[in-house]
Protein backbone atom coordinates (compact mmCIF):
# COMPACT_ATOMS: atom_id res chain seq x y z
CA UNK A 1 0.00 0.00 0.00
CA UNK A 2 1.28 3.42 -0.96
CA UNK A 3 2.36 5.68 1.88
CA UNK A 4 2.02 3.02 4.53
CA UNK A 5 5.07 2.60 6.77
CA UNK A 6 6.14 -0.97 7.15
CA UNK A 7 4.76 -2.18 10.44
CA UNK A 8 8.03 -4.05 11.06
CA UNK A 9 9.93 -0.77 10.91
CA UNK A 10 7.55 0.85 13.37
CA UNK A 11 7.75 -2.05 15.77
CA UNK A 12 11.52 -2.26 15.48
CA UNK A 13 12.33 1.38 16.10
CA UNK A 14 9.46 2.76 18.12
CA UNK A 15 8.97 2.53 21.87
CA UNK A 16 5.72 1.06 23.19
CA UNK A 17 3.50 3.84 24.58
CA UNK A 18 1.01 3.90 27.45
CA UNK A 19 -1.93 6.11 28.38
CA UNK A 20 -1.43 6.89 32.08
CA UNK A 21 -4.09 9.56 32.63
CA UNK A 22 -7.49 10.48 31.24
CA UNK A 23 -9.66 13.55 31.78
CA UNK A 24 -13.01 14.60 30.36
CA UNK A 25 -15.54 17.29 30.91
CA UNK A 26 -19.19 16.38 30.64
CA UNK A 27 -20.39 16.75 27.04
CA UNK A 28 -23.42 18.95 26.47
CA UNK A 29 -24.56 22.55 26.60
CA UNK A 30 -21.95 23.84 29.05
CA UNK A 31 -21.47 27.24 30.64
CA UNK A 32 -17.66 27.22 30.42
CA UNK A 33 -15.77 28.87 27.58
CA UNK A 34 -13.54 26.94 25.18
CA UNK A 35 -10.35 27.50 27.15
CA UNK A 36 -11.78 26.63 30.56
CA UNK A 37 -13.30 23.40 29.19
CA UNK A 38 -9.95 22.33 27.74
CA UNK A 39 -8.08 23.22 30.93
CA UNK A 40 -10.61 21.25 33.01
CA UNK A 41 -10.04 18.12 30.92
CA UNK A 42 -6.25 18.52 30.89
CA UNK A 43 -6.10 19.15 34.65
CA UNK A 44 -8.21 16.03 35.18
CA UNK A 45 -5.88 13.92 33.02
CA UNK A 46 -2.75 15.24 34.77
CA UNK A 47 -4.25 14.58 38.18
CA UNK A 48 -5.34 11.08 37.12
CA UNK A 49 -1.77 10.42 35.89
CA UNK A 50 -0.20 12.06 38.96
CA UNK A 51 1.90 14.24 36.66
CA UNK A 52 2.62 17.95 37.19
CA UNK A 53 1.85 20.31 34.32
CA UNK A 54 5.50 21.43 34.42
CA UNK A 55 6.63 17.87 33.54
CA UNK A 56 4.75 17.84 30.20
CA UNK A 57 7.15 18.16 27.26
CA UNK A 58 4.80 18.59 24.28
CA UNK A 59 1.12 19.40 23.77
CA UNK A 60 -1.06 18.44 20.80
CA UNK A 61 -4.55 19.91 20.68
CA UNK A 62 -7.34 18.76 18.38
CA UNK A 63 -9.88 21.46 17.49
CA UNK A 64 -12.01 21.72 14.39
CA UNK A 65 -13.39 25.23 14.28
CA UNK A 66 -12.62 27.40 17.29
CA UNK A 67 -12.16 30.39 14.98
CA UNK A 68 -15.66 29.92 13.49
CA UNK A 69 -17.52 28.79 16.62
CA UNK A 70 -16.08 31.27 19.12
CA UNK A 71 -13.79 33.60 17.12
CA UNK A 72 -10.59 32.38 18.77
CA UNK A 73 -7.49 31.19 16.94
CA UNK A 74 -3.96 30.22 18.11
CA UNK A 75 -5.53 27.77 20.50
CA UNK A 76 -2.68 25.48 21.55
CA UNK A 77 -0.52 28.03 23.41
CA UNK A 78 -3.70 29.85 24.51
CA UNK A 79 -4.84 26.69 26.29
CA UNK A 80 -1.41 25.25 27.09
CA UNK A 81 -0.25 28.30 29.04
CA UNK A 82 -3.51 28.33 31.01
CA UNK A 83 -2.96 24.65 31.82
CA UNK A 84 0.52 25.43 33.16
CA UNK A 85 2.60 23.80 30.42
CA UNK A 86 5.00 26.70 29.90
CA UNK A 87 7.25 27.09 26.86
CA UNK A 88 6.82 23.60 25.35
CA UNK A 89 5.92 22.94 21.69
CA UNK A 90 2.15 23.43 21.56
CA UNK A 91 0.34 22.62 18.33
CA UNK A 92 -3.27 22.69 17.21
CA UNK A 93 -4.32 20.01 14.74
CA UNK A 94 -7.39 20.29 12.53
CA UNK A 95 -8.73 17.22 10.72
CA UNK A 96 -12.45 17.92 10.95
CA UNK A 97 -14.16 15.53 13.38
CA UNK A 98 -10.95 13.48 13.59
CA UNK A 99 -8.95 16.45 14.92
CA UNK A 100 -8.15 14.98 18.31
CA UNK A 101 -7.69 11.44 16.97
CA UNK A 102 -5.06 13.05 14.80
CA UNK A 103 -3.64 14.96 17.80
CA UNK A 104 -3.34 11.62 19.60
CA UNK A 105 -1.61 10.04 16.57
CA UNK A 106 0.99 12.82 16.48
CA UNK A 107 1.46 12.78 20.26
CA UNK A 108 1.96 9.01 20.11
CA UNK A 109 4.54 9.39 17.32
CA UNK A 110 6.56 11.85 19.38
CA UNK A 111 6.74 9.50 22.37
CA UNK A 112 7.12 6.32 20.33
CA UNK A 113 9.99 7.91 18.39
CA UNK A 114 11.81 8.66 21.64
CA UNK A 115 11.65 12.46 21.32
CA UNK A 116 9.55 13.10 24.44
CA UNK A 117 8.70 11.13 27.57
CA UNK A 118 5.58 12.96 28.77
CA UNK A 119 3.07 14.32 26.24
CA UNK A 120 -0.53 15.53 26.45
CA UNK A 121 -3.03 15.02 23.63
CA UNK A 122 -6.33 16.81 24.05
CA UNK A 123 -9.35 17.95 22.09
CA UNK A 124 -11.95 20.64 22.61
CA UNK A 125 -14.94 22.18 20.86
CA UNK A 126 -17.37 24.87 21.96
CA UNK A 127 -20.32 24.61 19.57
CA UNK A 128 -23.45 25.69 21.38
CA UNK A 129 -22.65 29.39 21.31
CA UNK A 130 -24.00 29.29 17.72
CA UNK A 131 -27.48 28.35 16.52
CA UNK A 132 -28.10 25.16 14.54
CA UNK A 133 -28.16 26.80 11.04
CA UNK A 134 -24.74 28.42 11.64
CA UNK A 135 -23.37 25.19 13.16
CA UNK A 136 -24.58 23.32 10.06
CA UNK A 137 -22.73 25.84 7.90
CA UNK A 138 -19.49 25.59 9.91
CA UNK A 139 -19.60 21.77 9.81
CA UNK A 140 -20.34 21.77 6.06
CA UNK A 141 -16.93 23.35 5.51
CA UNK A 142 -15.37 19.98 6.41
CA UNK A 143 -16.65 18.92 2.97
CA UNK A 144 -15.63 20.23 -0.46
CA UNK A 145 -17.04 23.76 -0.51
CA UNK A 146 -16.20 24.25 -4.21
CA UNK A 147 -18.37 21.27 -5.20
CA UNK A 148 -20.80 19.47 -2.89
CA UNK A 149 -20.97 22.42 -0.46
CA UNK A 150 -21.87 24.84 -3.23
CA UNK A 151 -24.69 22.51 -4.35
CA UNK A 152 -26.22 22.60 -0.86
CA UNK A 153 -24.70 19.54 0.85
CA UNK A 154 -24.82 19.59 4.63
CA UNK A 155 -23.14 16.82 6.64
CA UNK A 156 -26.45 15.08 7.34
CA UNK A 157 -27.08 15.25 3.56
CA UNK A 158 -23.74 13.59 2.75
CA UNK A 159 -24.38 10.76 5.22
CA UNK A 160 -27.99 10.52 4.03
CA UNK A 161 -26.65 9.88 0.52
CA UNK A 162 -24.31 7.22 1.95
CA UNK A 163 -27.29 5.66 3.76
CA UNK A 164 -29.45 5.66 0.63
CA UNK A 165 -26.75 3.95 -1.41
CA UNK A 166 -26.12 1.42 1.39
CA UNK A 167 -29.87 0.66 1.44
CA UNK A 168 -29.86 0.31 -2.35
CA UNK A 169 -26.81 -2.01 -2.49
CA UNK A 170 -27.40 -4.13 0.62
CA UNK A 171 -31.05 -3.75 1.61
CA UNK A 172 -30.23 -1.88 4.80
CA UNK A 173 -33.44 -0.62 6.43
CA UNK A 174 -34.60 2.42 8.39
CA UNK A 175 -35.28 0.10 11.34
CA UNK A 176 -31.65 -1.04 11.30
CA UNK A 177 -30.45 2.57 11.33
CA UNK A 178 -32.87 3.35 14.15
CA UNK A 179 -31.67 0.34 16.17
CA UNK A 180 -28.22 1.99 16.36
CA UNK A 181 -29.78 5.14 17.82
CA UNK A 182 -31.87 3.14 20.32
CA UNK A 183 -28.80 1.18 21.49
CA UNK A 184 -26.59 4.24 21.84
CA UNK A 185 -29.24 6.17 23.75
CA UNK A 186 -29.70 3.20 26.11
CA UNK A 187 -25.94 3.22 26.77
CA UNK A 188 -25.68 6.99 27.08
CA UNK A 189 -28.45 7.01 29.67
CA UNK A 190 -25.98 5.12 31.90
CA UNK A 191 -23.14 7.61 31.32
CA UNK A 192 -23.12 10.51 33.81
CA UNK A 193 -21.00 12.60 31.40
CA UNK A 194 -23.32 12.10 28.40
CA UNK A 195 -25.14 15.01 26.74
CA UNK A 196 -28.55 13.33 26.29
CA UNK A 197 -29.22 10.70 28.97
CA UNK A 198 -32.52 9.67 27.47
CA UNK A 199 -33.77 6.23 26.47
CA UNK A 200 -35.63 6.25 23.16
CA UNK A 201 -37.83 3.63 21.50
CA UNK A 202 -37.55 2.28 17.98
CA UNK A 203 -40.93 3.87 17.18
CA UNK A 204 -39.71 7.29 18.36
CA UNK A 205 -36.54 7.00 16.30
CA UNK A 206 -38.49 5.99 13.19
CA UNK A 207 -40.93 8.88 13.61
CA UNK A 208 -38.25 11.55 14.08
CA UNK A 209 -38.33 14.82 12.19
CA UNK A 210 -36.50 14.42 8.86
CA UNK A 211 -33.13 16.22 8.57
CA UNK A 212 -31.94 14.78 5.25
CA UNK A 213 -33.93 11.74 4.09
CA UNK A 214 -33.69 8.95 5.14
CA UNK A 215 -32.03 10.40 8.26
CA UNK A 216 -34.10 11.94 11.04
CA UNK A 217 -32.95 13.88 14.08
CA UNK A 218 -32.54 10.51 15.83
CA UNK A 219 -29.95 9.42 13.26
CA UNK A 220 -27.80 12.50 13.87
CA UNK A 221 -25.24 13.09 16.63
CA UNK A 222 -25.60 16.05 18.95
CA UNK A 223 -24.22 19.58 18.88
CA UNK A 224 -22.18 19.68 22.08
CA UNK A 225 -19.52 21.49 24.03
CA UNK A 226 -16.80 19.47 25.67
CA UNK A 227 -13.15 18.56 26.06
CA UNK A 228 -11.05 15.46 26.66
CA UNK A 229 -7.36 14.86 27.38
CA UNK A 230 -4.89 12.04 27.90
CA UNK A 231 -1.33 11.86 29.21
CA UNK A 232 0.99 9.44 27.43
CA UNK A 233 4.46 8.15 28.34
CA UNK A 234 6.67 5.23 27.22
CA UNK A 235 5.38 1.94 28.66
CA UNK A 236 8.71 1.50 30.47
CA UNK A 237 7.90 4.60 32.57
CA UNK A 238 4.20 3.92 33.03
CA UNK A 239 4.41 1.81 36.19
CA UNK A 240 6.17 4.69 38.01
CA UNK A 241 2.90 6.62 37.70
CA UNK A 242 0.13 4.05 37.93
CA UNK A 243 -0.63 0.35 37.74
CA UNK A 244 -3.81 1.17 35.81
CA UNK A 245 -2.28 2.32 32.55
CA UNK A 246 -3.40 1.23 29.09
CA UNK A 247 -0.96 0.01 26.46
CA UNK A 248 -1.31 1.62 23.04
CA UNK A 249 -1.11 -1.52 20.93
CA UNK A 250 -1.66 0.36 17.68
CA UNK A 251 -2.47 3.75 16.18
CA UNK A 252 -3.01 4.39 12.49
CA UNK A 253 -4.10 7.49 10.61
CA UNK A 254 -5.19 7.55 6.96
CA UNK A 255 -6.68 9.94 4.41
CA UNK A 256 -9.03 9.89 1.42
CA UNK A 257 -10.80 12.35 -0.89
CA UNK A 258 -12.77 15.04 0.93
CA UNK A 259 -15.57 15.18 -1.65
CA UNK A 260 -18.04 12.31 -1.57
CA UNK A 261 -18.44 12.44 -5.37
CA UNK A 262 -14.68 11.84 -5.86
CA UNK A 263 -14.67 8.50 -4.02
CA UNK A 264 -14.87 5.31 -6.08
CA UNK A 265 -17.64 4.01 -3.79
CA UNK A 266 -19.52 5.45 -0.84
CA UNK A 267 -20.78 2.39 1.04
CA UNK A 268 -17.32 1.67 2.46
CA UNK A 269 -14.70 4.11 3.69
CA UNK A 270 -11.25 3.17 2.31
CA UNK A 271 -9.66 5.35 5.02
CA UNK A 272 -11.37 3.30 7.75
CA UNK A 273 -10.46 0.01 6.10
CA UNK A 274 -6.79 0.89 5.71
CA UNK A 275 -6.51 2.44 9.20
CA UNK A 276 -8.09 -0.73 10.59
CA UNK A 277 -5.80 -3.01 8.59
CA UNK A 278 -2.71 -1.09 9.68
CA UNK A 279 -3.82 -1.07 13.31
CA UNK A 280 -4.60 -4.80 13.35
CA UNK A 281 -1.25 -5.51 11.74
CA UNK A 282 0.66 -3.30 14.18
CA UNK A 283 -1.06 -4.94 17.16
CA UNK A 284 -0.81 -8.45 15.73
CA UNK A 285 -4.56 -8.76 16.34
CA UNK A 286 -7.72 -9.16 14.29
CA UNK A 287 -11.35 -8.04 14.58
CA UNK A 288 -12.20 -11.13 16.67
CA UNK A 289 -9.70 -10.09 19.35
CA UNK A 290 -11.47 -6.78 19.99
CA UNK A 291 -13.67 -6.91 23.09
CA UNK A 292 -15.24 -3.44 22.92
CA UNK A 293 -15.20 -0.58 20.44
CA UNK A 294 -16.02 3.09 20.28
CA UNK A 295 -16.99 3.84 16.67
CA UNK A 296 -17.61 7.26 15.14
CA UNK A 297 -21.42 7.32 14.97
CA UNK A 298 -21.75 10.92 13.78
CA UNK A 299 -24.79 9.42 12.00
CA UNK A 300 -26.29 5.98 12.59
CA UNK A 301 -25.19 4.84 9.12
CA UNK A 302 -21.58 5.72 10.01
CA UNK A 303 -21.53 3.15 12.82
CA UNK A 304 -22.98 0.53 10.47
CA UNK A 305 -20.40 1.22 7.74
CA UNK A 306 -17.52 1.31 10.24
CA UNK A 307 -18.60 -2.00 11.79
CA UNK A 308 -18.23 -3.51 8.30
CA UNK A 309 -15.01 -1.71 7.35
CA UNK A 310 -13.32 -2.85 10.57
CA UNK A 311 -14.34 -6.48 10.05
CA UNK A 312 -16.87 -6.80 12.88
CA UNK A 313 -19.64 -7.56 10.40
CA UNK A 314 -19.43 -8.76 6.79
CA UNK A 315 -19.82 -6.13 4.07
CA UNK A 316 -23.47 -5.19 3.85
CA UNK A 317 -24.35 -6.93 7.12
CA UNK A 318 -23.73 -3.97 9.43
CA UNK A 319 -27.47 -3.21 9.59
CA UNK A 320 -28.58 -6.74 10.58
CA UNK A 321 -25.58 -6.91 12.98
CA UNK A 322 -26.89 -3.86 14.87
CA UNK A 323 -30.55 -4.87 14.67
CA UNK A 324 -29.80 -8.36 16.06
CA UNK A 325 -28.26 -6.82 19.18
CA UNK A 326 -24.68 -7.99 18.46
CA UNK A 327 -23.32 -4.60 19.56
CA UNK A 328 -25.35 -3.92 22.72
CA UNK A 329 -23.67 -3.81 26.15
CA UNK A 330 -24.17 -7.56 26.57
CA UNK A 331 -23.77 -8.37 22.88
CA UNK A 332 -20.93 -10.19 21.14
CA UNK A 333 -19.03 -6.92 20.65
CA UNK A 334 -20.30 -3.90 22.63
CA UNK A 335 -20.07 -0.83 20.37
CA UNK A 336 -20.34 2.66 21.84
CA UNK A 337 -20.89 1.58 25.42
CA UNK A 338 -20.36 5.27 26.24
CA UNK A 339 -23.48 6.25 24.30
CA UNK A 340 -21.46 7.22 21.25
CA UNK A 341 -21.62 10.56 19.53
CA UNK A 342 -25.37 10.02 19.27
CA UNK A 343 -26.11 10.20 22.98
CA UNK A 344 -22.84 11.09 24.73
CA UNK A 345 -22.49 14.08 22.40
CA UNK A 346 -20.12 15.17 19.65
CA UNK A 347 -18.03 18.23 20.46
CA UNK A 348 -16.22 17.50 17.22
CA UNK A 349 -12.64 18.41 18.16
CA UNK A 350 -12.91 16.51 21.45
CA UNK A 351 -14.39 13.31 20.07
CA UNK A 352 -11.26 11.31 19.15
CA UNK A 353 -9.51 11.70 22.50
CA UNK A 354 -12.89 11.37 24.23
CA UNK A 355 -13.31 7.90 22.66
CA UNK A 356 -9.85 6.93 23.95
CA UNK A 357 -10.80 8.09 27.47
CA UNK A 358 -14.02 6.04 27.26
CA UNK A 359 -12.14 2.89 26.23
CA UNK A 360 -9.49 3.37 28.94
CA UNK A 361 -12.29 3.72 31.52
CA UNK A 362 -13.67 0.36 30.32
CA UNK A 363 -10.20 -1.28 30.35
CA UNK A 364 -9.79 -0.16 33.97
CA UNK A 365 -13.23 -1.51 34.88
CA UNK A 366 -14.33 1.99 35.89
CA UNK A 367 -17.33 2.39 33.56
CA UNK A 368 -19.99 1.85 36.23
CA UNK A 369 -23.42 0.84 34.99
CA UNK A 370 -22.23 0.63 31.39
CA UNK A 371 -19.17 -1.53 32.18
CA UNK A 372 -18.81 -4.41 29.72
CA UNK A 373 -17.82 -7.87 30.95
CA UNK A 374 -14.87 -8.50 28.64
CA UNK A 375 -12.64 -5.45 28.77
CA UNK A 376 -9.04 -6.34 28.05
CA UNK A 377 -8.73 -4.96 24.48
CA UNK A 378 -10.63 -2.02 23.01
CA UNK A 379 -10.63 -0.18 19.69
CA UNK A 380 -11.49 3.41 18.76
CA UNK A 381 -12.36 4.72 15.29
CA UNK A 382 -12.47 8.48 14.77
CA UNK A 383 -13.68 9.73 11.38
CA UNK A 384 -13.17 13.14 9.80
CA UNK A 385 -15.68 14.55 7.31
CA UNK A 386 -17.33 11.98 5.08
CA UNK A 387 -14.38 9.63 5.51
CA UNK A 388 -11.42 11.81 4.45
CA UNK A 389 -9.50 11.25 7.71
CA UNK A 390 -9.56 8.20 9.92
CA UNK A 391 -7.69 7.37 13.10
CA UNK A 392 -7.95 3.89 14.60
CA UNK A 393 -6.38 2.96 17.94
CA UNK A 394 -6.18 -0.37 19.73
CA UNK A 395 -5.69 -0.19 23.49
CA UNK A 396 -4.99 -2.96 26.00
CA UNK A 397 -5.35 -3.05 29.77
CA UNK A 398 -2.00 -3.09 31.60
Amino acid sequence: MQGVPTIDAILKYMRPVAVIGIGKTAFGVLPGDLRSLAVEAITGALSDARVNASAVQAFYLGNFAGPSFVGQNHLAPYIGMAAGFGAIPSTRIEDACASSGSAFFHAWQSVAAGIYDVVVAAGVEKMTSQGTPRVTEILAAAGDMAGEGRAGATFPALFAMIARRHMYEFGTTRRQLASVAVKNHANGAKNPLAHMRKIITLEQALAGKPVAEPLTVYDCSLISDGAAAVVIVPVEHAARHTSRFARVRAVAQTADHVALDEKPGITAFPAVRSAGEQAYSMAGLGPHDIELAELHDCFTIAEIVASEDLGFANKGDGGPFAEAGCSTLDGRLPINASGGLKSKGHPVGATGVGQICDVVMQLRGDAGERQVTRHRIGLTENLGGSGATCVVTILEAA
Binding site: P133, R150, A151, G152, T154, A157, R164, V211, D261
Partner: protein, 71 residues
Protein backbone atom coordinates in the same frame (compact mmCIF):
# COMPACT_ATOMS: atom_id res chain seq x y z
CA UNK B 1 -23.13 19.71 -24.55
CA UNK B 2 -26.24 19.05 -22.49
CA UNK B 3 -26.43 15.48 -23.81
CA UNK B 4 -22.90 14.80 -22.64
CA UNK B 5 -23.81 15.79 -19.12
CA UNK B 6 -26.89 13.60 -18.79
CA UNK B 7 -26.56 10.66 -16.45
CA UNK B 8 -27.96 8.37 -13.79
CA UNK B 9 -28.70 9.05 -10.11
CA UNK B 10 -25.97 7.34 -8.07
CA UNK B 11 -27.45 8.44 -4.74
CA UNK B 12 -29.77 11.15 -3.47
CA UNK B 13 -31.42 12.77 -0.47
CA UNK B 14 -34.07 15.37 0.32
CA UNK B 15 -32.47 18.05 2.47
CA UNK B 16 -34.83 19.49 5.09
CA UNK B 17 -32.33 21.30 7.34
CA UNK B 18 -30.18 23.56 5.21
CA UNK B 19 -27.46 26.10 5.88
CA UNK B 20 -28.65 29.74 6.03
CA UNK B 21 -27.54 30.20 2.42
CA UNK B 22 -29.97 27.56 1.14
CA UNK B 23 -32.69 27.75 3.79
CA UNK B 24 -35.15 29.27 1.31
CA UNK B 25 -34.67 26.27 -1.03
CA UNK B 26 -35.49 23.61 1.58
CA UNK B 27 -36.72 20.98 1.16
CA UNK B 28 -34.62 20.29 -1.94
CA UNK B 29 -33.28 17.17 -3.62
CA UNK B 30 -29.52 16.80 -3.68
CA UNK B 31 -27.90 13.96 -5.63
CA UNK B 32 -24.67 12.54 -6.90
CA UNK B 33 -25.09 12.04 -10.63
CA UNK B 34 -22.97 9.56 -12.55
CA UNK B 35 -22.71 11.28 -15.91
CA UNK B 36 -22.30 9.29 -19.08
CA UNK B 37 -18.53 9.90 -19.16
CA UNK B 38 -18.37 7.97 -15.86
CA UNK B 39 -17.51 11.00 -13.75
CA UNK B 40 -19.65 11.83 -10.72
CA UNK B 41 -20.82 15.24 -9.61
CA UNK B 42 -23.01 16.61 -6.84
CA UNK B 43 -26.06 18.38 -8.24
CA UNK B 44 -29.61 19.44 -7.53
CA UNK B 45 -32.66 17.70 -8.95
CA UNK B 46 -35.62 19.92 -9.71
CA UNK B 47 -39.20 18.88 -10.35
CA UNK B 48 -40.26 15.28 -9.83
CA UNK B 49 -38.28 13.30 -7.27
CA UNK B 50 -35.71 10.94 -8.81
CA UNK B 51 -34.55 7.64 -7.30
CA UNK B 52 -31.22 5.82 -7.46
CA UNK B 53 -30.82 4.38 -10.95
CA UNK B 54 -33.16 6.88 -12.61
CA UNK B 55 -31.90 8.63 -15.76
CA UNK B 56 -31.74 12.39 -15.41
CA UNK B 57 -31.14 15.14 -17.93
CA UNK B 58 -29.07 18.26 -17.46
CA UNK B 59 -31.25 21.37 -17.27
CA UNK B 60 -28.98 24.28 -16.48
CA UNK B 61 -26.06 25.55 -14.45
CA UNK B 62 -26.84 28.24 -11.90
CA UNK B 63 -24.30 29.78 -9.48
CA UNK B 64 -21.87 27.00 -10.32
CA UNK B 65 -24.38 24.25 -9.51
CA UNK B 66 -25.75 21.78 -12.05
CA UNK B 67 -29.52 21.23 -12.04
CA UNK B 68 -31.04 18.02 -13.40
CA UNK B 69 -34.53 16.68 -13.85
CA UNK B 70 -35.93 13.18 -14.18
CA UNK B 71 -36.33 12.08 -17.79
Amino acid sequence: MADLLDGVVYTETIVHSATPQFAADAPYQLAIIEVDSGRRLTARISGERADIGDRVVFVEERDGVAYYCKR
